[in-house]
Symmetry: C2
Subunit: 124 residues, 2 copies
């Protein structure tokens, strides 16, 4: 079974973490190619990335896509998250765990920026 | 004249800051409702938000939209950026400076997440 783990930075602000959980739930209830969708956090909030992966494996995942919910390809995306994933790859070599491109890499982001910015222009 | 200031967190990693500048340039070259588009950073990188605003005003902006390039509505979006903007509002009460909703507030973000996550599924 293919499952998705949405990975965010994690915040001291509970509302920010709740936003990510809400997004994961929203994605799950929509038509997706994934049997289950959870979220995990690099720092501060729970579950951690290794725990998030282990929970999906316990739910029967044979393949997991890890999606970095990050706008920039910084140290978090290029080395921190892969290191967290590697811990679980070592524990579960039979599970196929892959990283998707981080959110900011999407060519569509520019369109969303313009929509958000332009939405203010419609207020007179 | 209406101008746009894209505001990102700022990173010690030059490439991350360069990504934001590239995005601002990409938006400028596309059809937009803005006479000019620049970027500024809350921390670490230049220009700061007040300097970014002052530069647009020096270029003739009478109205500026500030677009937070942030995924979550944390302290940065709710208080830090508004405080930076307020410094310049006090200097230039004749300039209309408004904040657009932060990027993560867009209803389209969920679609982008799914596209990015699903792009991995097509690799066999």
């Amino acid at each position: 079974m293919m499952m998705l783990l949405l990975v965010a930075h994690g915040s001291r602000r509970d509302e920010s973490n709740a936003e990510v959980k809400a997004l994961a739930n929203q994605l799950l209830s929509a038509e997706s190619g994934f049997a289950d969708i959870d979220c995990a956090f690099l720092e501060i909030a729970q579950p951690s990335i290794p725990d998030g992966l282990r929970q999906l494996i316990a739910k029967g995942a044979l393949e997991i896509v890890v999606m970095p919910y990050f706008l920039s390809a910084g140290r978090h995306v290029s080395s921190d998250i892969p290191a967290e994933i590697e811990q679980v790859r070592v524990e579960h070599p039979e599970i196929n765990i892959r990283m998707a491109p981080y959110l900011g890499a999407s060519a569509e982001i520019a369109q969303i920026v313009m929509q958000q910015a332009s939405s203010v222009l419609q207020e007179i």
